[in-house]
């Protein structure tokens, strides 16, 4: 019986997260990795990994189904989940930005139409600045929206900025930085204190050592 269940966000962060976990003594065999199973144990049998969509990581951890999770800060900001965040993992570094078409000044709008996958972050950002916005929630290819006239600007995650450039957009403002985070369920933190402290210790040694 594994001591801890760890939810790992599939996609962008997954490979880096697994490499970091493996370096911290929670490695999954390559045979398991190449399988299509969504739940597996690590080689020591101490940890069980589940692979879920990034937005579902906070859900599993908040309900205590997973004790810990690895997920980007962007997802945590968007979900507003009540989770412990003991470690910033130096993986998947990127920025959450406002971007608009080249040559467009956002100050010229009485109301901004904002296309985004992050409606809560976008609403909070413009809300604190007192700017009226219409949030248009999309699930992908957000960079298309300004060019096609669906929105005046976008709020999105940017790593290199290449996608923005190739779609005729430029970064207007950085809302926040985002990196991978280790999140922990509040009850697990107390009731499984020892294995969690061990995992945090092993991961932070790796991060400092890197």
């Amino acid at each position: 019986m594994p001591e801890l269940t760890i939810a790992v966000a599939k996609g962008r962060l997954q490979d880096e997260a697994l490499a970091l976990l493996a370096a911290a003594g929670a490695g999954v065999s390559s045979q398991d990795l190449s399988s299509r199973r969504l739940a597996m144990e690590d080689e020591s049998g101490r940890y069980r990994f589940i692979f879920v969509k990034p937005a579902d990581v906070p859900v599993y951890v908040e309900h205590g189904i997973a004790d810990c999770g690895v997920v980007g800060r962007d997802v945590l900001l968007e979900s507003g989940s009540d989770l412990l965040q003991p470690l910033t993992l130096e993986i998947g570094r990127c920025r959450i930005v406002v971007a608009a078409r080249n040559g467009v000044s956002l100050n010229d709008f009485g109301m901004l139409r904002v296309a985004t996958k992050y409606p809560c972050i976008a609403a909070a950002h413009f809300g604190t600045r007192g700017r009226p916005v219409e949030i248009i929630e999309l699930s992908g290819s957000v960079e298309l929206a300004p060019g096609l006239g669906l929105a005046d600007c976008i709020v999105d995650l940017v790593e290199s900025g290449r996608t923005l450039r190739e779609n005729g957009l430029k970064e207007v403002e950085v809302i926040d930085e985002s990196t991978g985070r280790l999140v922990v369920n509040r009850a697990s933190y107390q009731l499984k204190a020892k294995p969690i402290a061990r995992l945090i210790g092993a991961l932070s040694n790796r991060i400092e050592g890197a």
């Binding site: 908040e62 205590g64 979900s79 989770l83 003991p86 470690l87 509040r186 107390q190 009731l191 204190a193």
Partner: protein, 390 residues
Amino acid sequence: MDQTESLSKIPAGMRYYFGPEARLRRTVEETGMSIFDGWSYEEITTPTIDHYSLFEHGMGRAEAQRAFRFTDTDGRLLALRLDVTSAAARAAATLFAERERPLRLCYAAPVFRQQPQSHAEWRRESTQIGCELIGANTRVADLEVLVIASEFLRRLDLDGNYAITLNDVGIFNGVAERLRLDPTSREEMRQLIDVRNAADLERFLTPYTSAEEAQAFAQLTQLAGKRESLDLARSVISNEQSRAALDRLESLWNVIESLGLTGCFEIDLGDVARLDYYTGLTFKIYVKGAGYRVGSGGRYDDLTASFGKAEPAVGFVLDLDALTDVVHLHTADVSATLASQAEPPELTANDSEEEPPGDSRDPSKNPSEVFIEALKRRAKGERVSLKLGR
């Protein structure tokens, strides 16, 4: 519009209880209330509908805003009960102002929140079971409620799968004061401690103090442990207010140790929720099987003052519904036993006026005879179940 659909829906965050689960919930409630009674706590029922301003004073604005609100005939804002403590504190300062102290009150009552507390706590109606000890500011009073809470959890047969974590708000407040933090930075520090983000906390502290001290303090908030947490805290924190709070915690811990209860208690200096509400000891209750905390409590010496009579108070509250869920999980056999209670014998009753005349009538099953038999069995405390026909 399809009317059957809208009539069959129930609002988000609401649910039914029935069968074994309802019985189990009743058992858990009775267990708690009998423990409170055993410690001489008197039951109080507070109004289901109360003035919104009560909760604003009693819980703070941010908490109160989660209430279901509506207006009275005179336009005053009302709310569905959001907690029991606020009204109990008001009663203590008014209705019970002349009563001898200490005042011991207990309750089990539904509370309503328009916004659920978190994604995991989806209920908008939940039942709070708890107690308040008003008019005593002593170590013994703090211990009394801690011992009651641990007795409650012990009696639920959870196999030790629970933890009560202790802290004292004086520790955080002392540090915040020594660093001369303005309210915004103070809240920022509180949030960093609350999510146990040691790295960012260390960065936050660096402009205020030596790097060494910042690192040591940041590590401190990640620790949940026993007595050693206090020793570690002393080696890092030197201001007077925090020291006094650490002394208070230690003297509680000494007694807990002498009672042999350390197994279910932890010291968690990173618990900094609702600092504006509590004034000394704070504690949280976690049970394996529930992803969120099922109870909390502490000392709130400033609360009754807002109702006109300042006096010390300490208490705690548990979420009865969350507890029921957990007990349900931990003791699957308990519900099985409850469900398998012997089926009562069925007594057949025929209503002669509806029954077609003829051979099917059995004179021995005349209604009054059936009820005579049923009442006899009831007098002996037996369960009966009448067969009624359709």
